[in-house]
């Protein structure tokens, strides 16, 4: 039942404004594939092209081998969950879910059985006779999901489905969606601008910017080995430092702006003397004994319970953000204090200073 979605060289222009540029991607059978990016990056446009709400003028979109460019929306056989849920306000929960099935020429008993089943799956059976205005956001969300999957579509499309829920419910629904998606094994395209949500829910993530895919990867790799600085900046927070290659080879010596020298492995071949960008996440700093690493002065201390965050002046111009696990520090530094820090060379990422593309060996963007 599940299909592969092949998107080949698609492009979308509104007048002179290019929203999607020459984009190709294959979404595997049964996977939850997330389009993640800032607003205006084209993720929703792409999703709506798959749905058929936006036309495809250039390139092709295919479900398995069937090109769907010219198939009208109502014949594409997909289910969709909308950002505002789009529950039909004139129908009860039951009627909403039944609506898609009634169009499928099924026996009445079969329809009833399927609706009951799906209501059970998404846990909304007690609300079957309610109208949407008497449902909470989370319940509406469940109805929307039930309605979309009740017709057993080939593809499930979700457009920021959790953005209208409060934080707690968002976590709960995230789990529910993930669980149900795996249970029925449907190829799913999920759009969100929330990186944490994307990391938690996805099999693979495509990071988009300005109508282009920057990198396609599993969540762990997207986080730890971003392909370029855009991805690194978008996922989590990184301190951007500069360094000069002091010694090239298998073990590279990088001389930081602060004067400290960092040795690391696993880089692509580099020339001596060339400058690079060093991306260090706040948690990738480690405290050093006095006199080793880089000397810094605490500017701001922020205690967050599990973590302690510092803003520190390392003498690099902009203050640097450093995060420590409360359990692993012996004492909490005060503003004005001097400390010595170094970086975790297994974790930090190095980028080319001109192209801003990764210099880490083996990191690919997987863009076709």
């Amino acid at each position: 039942m599940a299909v592969e979605i092949h998107i080949k060289n698609t492009m979308k222009k509104y007048e002179d404004n290019i929203v999607i540029k020459d984009l190709s991607v294959t979404i595997n059978e049964g996977e939850l594939f997330t389009l993640l990016g800032p607003s205006g990056c084209g993720k929703t446009t792409l999703l709506r092209m798959i749905a058929g709400f936006n036309s495809v003028e250039h390139g092709t979109i295919a479900f398995d081998r069937t090109v769907i460019n010219d198939i009208p929306v109502h014949k594409r056989n997909f289910g969709m969950v909308f950002q505002n849920y789009a529950i039909f306000p004139n129908m009860t929960v039951y009627r909403n879910i039944e609506y898609g099935l009634k169009n499928k020429h099924l026996a009445k008993t079969e329809i009833a059985k399927r609706v009951e089943e799906i209501m059970e799956t998404v846990q909304i059976t007690p609300f079957r006779d309610r109208y949407p205005d008497k449902l909470s956001g989370g319940q509406q969300q469940r109805v929307a999901l039930a309605r979309a999957i009740a017709v057993r579509p080939q593809v499930l499309l979700m457009d920021e489905p959790l953005s209208n829920l409060d934080a707690k419910l968002r976590l709960e629904m995230r789990e529910a969606i993930r669980e149900i998606q795996k249970k029925i094994g449907i190829t799913t395209v999920y759009v969100t601008h929330d990186q944490e949500e994307a990391l938690a829910i996805s099999d693979r993530i495509a990071i988009m910017n300005k109508g282009d895919i920057q990198q396609i990867e599993i969540p762990e790799n997207i986080y730890s080995r971003p392909y370029n600085t855009f991805v690194a900046d978008f996922i989590g927070h990184s301190n951007r430092l500069e360094a000069v290659v002091e010694a090239a080879g298998e073990m590279v010596k990088l001389k930081m702006e602060t004067g400290a020298v960092v040795e690391m492995k696993g880089l692509k071949p580099l020339k001596q003397g060339c400058r690079v960008l060093v991306y260090v996440r706040p948690e990738e700093f480690v405290l050093c004994p006095e006199g080793k690493g880089m000397k810094g002065k605490v500017l701001v201390k922020q205690f967050l319970g599990k973590y302690i965050n510092y803003l520190m002046d390392l003498g690099t111009g902009a203050p640097v953000e450093i995060s420590m696990d409360t359990n692993s520090v012996e004492r909490i530094c005060k503003p004005g204090e001097s400390v010595w820090v170094s970086v975790n060379t297994d974790r930090i990422n190095i980028f080319d200073i001109d192209t801003e593309v990764t210099l880490m060996r083996g990191v690919e963007n997987h863009v076709l």
Partner: protein, 552 residues
């Protein structure tokens, strides 16, 4: 909009074509013909400005334009002076029986002005009951009601409800915390009202005032009945077209064009001003009416009751007098159902005609209005923009003119509709559809298009999506627009007067004729039947929708 690989011809393309053909035939062609006629002379010499020269060179015609503007502008000012304070009092303070008063005001607003004029003549005219009473008891002579004063009186009392309804709607949407914020900043009482409330409702009042201006400017019945020598533009047009001395379609067209231009300027001016000053407000804290005490409570109630009484007095008086016996055209002693018997035997056809025509028209209005509303909101393209303009157009075309140009266009040639039922129904549909379209479109704008998309994603095509999902959700808007369309159709006089024949007489025309030939008793009986129909429709509407108001 994409024009790739040819245009897909679907249901909505069909509706688009239908809308273009309909308005093309019954709006563009007539207006076009009028414009062409306006620049033609009687001898068909081609392009000429002689009609305009004639209009502006003769004092008689210039006077009519001046008269129209004078009485209409003054009426608009008076209407604001009454409507705005009234709306403020009823929303800010608790008034007993407010619901009944609102219904009375809506009824007086929706009943045709000429019936009001007729009723005021019966009360305050040369031989009116009040005039005679005052003369007999006090020996005083009442001021003359005919002419300018009478028209102004009727317009003001007939049209202030528009401002009242509009303003009330705006005040109800004004968050109570705004007033509280103003008070916390030291603005109190009248300074609060002038500083905060008034500027915020100003665009709404302006919109209401525009409607009042256009309605008064277009009204033919009132100046015709109570104006006597005070001739206004619609009267001139009617005379030029109908009277034996006139019968000059070219000149009438030119006058109509001048009128339409004035109306269009007013309309566009309002659109521009309110386009610039549109405040958006969030309503978290709806205003709550306060309970007044002592003298101010008494004054507030007094004001509201007095205005409501004056507004409904003509209607009430007509109902009462409809039971008075008559002898020929004279009043006789005693009360009974004589007038009604006469009406049913003599003008029965006009009653059945009214219902027949109105029912057909309202069905067409609802079906086309709903579909057209969908087009203008959900299928944005060049055609739906044009359609939007077409739908606004009838607001600026006075009924007499519309009847006239429709008749000019379809009185001869390949399609002859003059004298048919069809032409009346077409006039009703074009003129009264805007209410239904606007209110259906308004509700559709509040509904996210994603419910349509959800339906499509579940395998439903454009047509089934519309009928299963979109239309059911639009129903409240359709119904509240349709009630306005319906009531204004059964009341329609001005374009009917141009288009009816002895076989297609409607109630409003019959009333008008009866008044003209002095059959006051039968006119009153017919008016009462019309009023009862209207009230019944309104009450049914309130019951069905569980609302207490109508949206204008």
């Amino acid at each position: 909009m994409s024009f790739k690989k040819g245009i897909r011809f679907d249901f909505w393309s069909f509706v688009t074509v239908l809308s273009m053909v309909f308005f093309g035939m019954f709006l563009v062609v007539p207006v076009g013909r009028m414009v062409i006629f306006a620049f033609q002379g009687k001898e068909d010499v081609g392009f000429t400005l002689e009609n305009f020269v004639k209009f502006f060179s003769r004092a008689y015609y210039r006077k009519a334009l001046f008269n129209s503007l004078k009485v209409v502008l003054l009426a608009t000012i008076l209407v604001i002076a009454i409507g705005v304070p009234l709306a403020y009092v009823t929303t800010a303070f608790k008034i007993r029986g407010k619901r009944v008063i609102d219904i009375l005001i809506i009824i007086s607003m929706l009943s045709p002005p000429f019936i009001g004029a007729y009723s005021w003549i019966l009360m305050l005219g040369r031989n009116g009951v009040i005039t005679n009473f005052v003369k007999d008891v006090f020996g005083w002579k009442m001021p003359d009601i005919y002419g300018f004063t009478g028209i102004l009186l009727v317009f003001t009392l007939k049209l202030f409800p528009y401002i009242y309804m509009y303003t009330k709607g705006a005040l109800k949407k004004m968050d109570a915390s705004l007033g509280e914020a103003a008070e916390s900043l030291g603005y109190h009482g009248i300074r609060k009202v002038l500083g905060i409330s008034l500027p915020l409702i100003a665009p709404t009042v302006l919109a209401g005032a525009t409607i009042v201006f256009l309605r008064a400017f277009a009204d033919y019945g009132t100046p015709r009945l109570i104006g006597e020598g005070y001739s206004t533009m619609p009267v001139i047009i009617y005379q030029e077209w109908v009277s034996e001395t006139g019968n000059n379609a070219y000149f009438a067209s030119a006058v109509a064009l001048i009128m339409m231009l004035v109306a269009a300027v007013v309309f566009l001016l309002q659109q521009r001003i309110s386009g610039r000053k549109n405040y958006s407000m969030s309503l978290l804290n709806p205003p709550k009416p306060k309970q007044l005490k002592g003298v101010s409570n008494f004054l507030a109630h007094g004001l509201v009751y007095l205005v409501a009484l004056l507004a409904t007095l003509p209607q009430i008086y007509i109902v009462c007098i409809s039971f008075r016996n008559t002898k020929g055209v004279m009043w006789a002693e005693g009360y009974g159902f004589g007038n009604y018997l006469t009406v049913f035997s003599k003008s029965g056809a006009s009653i059945t005609n009214t219902f027949k025509f109105s029912l057909i028209a309202i069905v067409i209005v609802v079906v086309m209005g709903t579909l057209f509303a969908y087009l203008t909101v959900r299928r944005k393209n060049i055609f739906s923009k044009v359609l939007d303009v077409f739908i606004m157009f009838p607001y600026v075309i006075p009924g007499t003119i519309f009847g006239l140009i429709l008749l000019m266009s379809y009185n001869s040639g390949p399609i002859v509709l003059g004298g048919t039922v069809a032409i009346l129904i077409i006039a009703y549909v074009v003129r009264r559809m805007p209410y239904t379209v606007r209110s259906s479109a308004a509700i559709l704008r509040q509904i996210s298009p994603s419910i349509d998309e959800a339906s499509a994603s579940l395998g439903y095509g454009a047509v089934s999506t519309f009928f299963y999902v979109t239309m059911p959700v639009m129903i409240p808007g359709i119904v509240s627009g349709a009630i306005l369309s319906w009531i204004t159709i059964i009341n329609e006089l001005s374009s009917t007067l141009m288009l009816y024949t002895s076989k297609t007489t409607t109630m409003s025309v019959a009333i008008f004729q009866e008044i003209n030939r002095g059959g006051y008793g039968t006119a009153a009986a017919l008016s009462t039947i019309l009023t009862v129909t209207m009230v019944a429709s309104l009450l049914l509407f309130f019951k069905l929708t569980k609302s207490e108001d109508i949206d204008l």
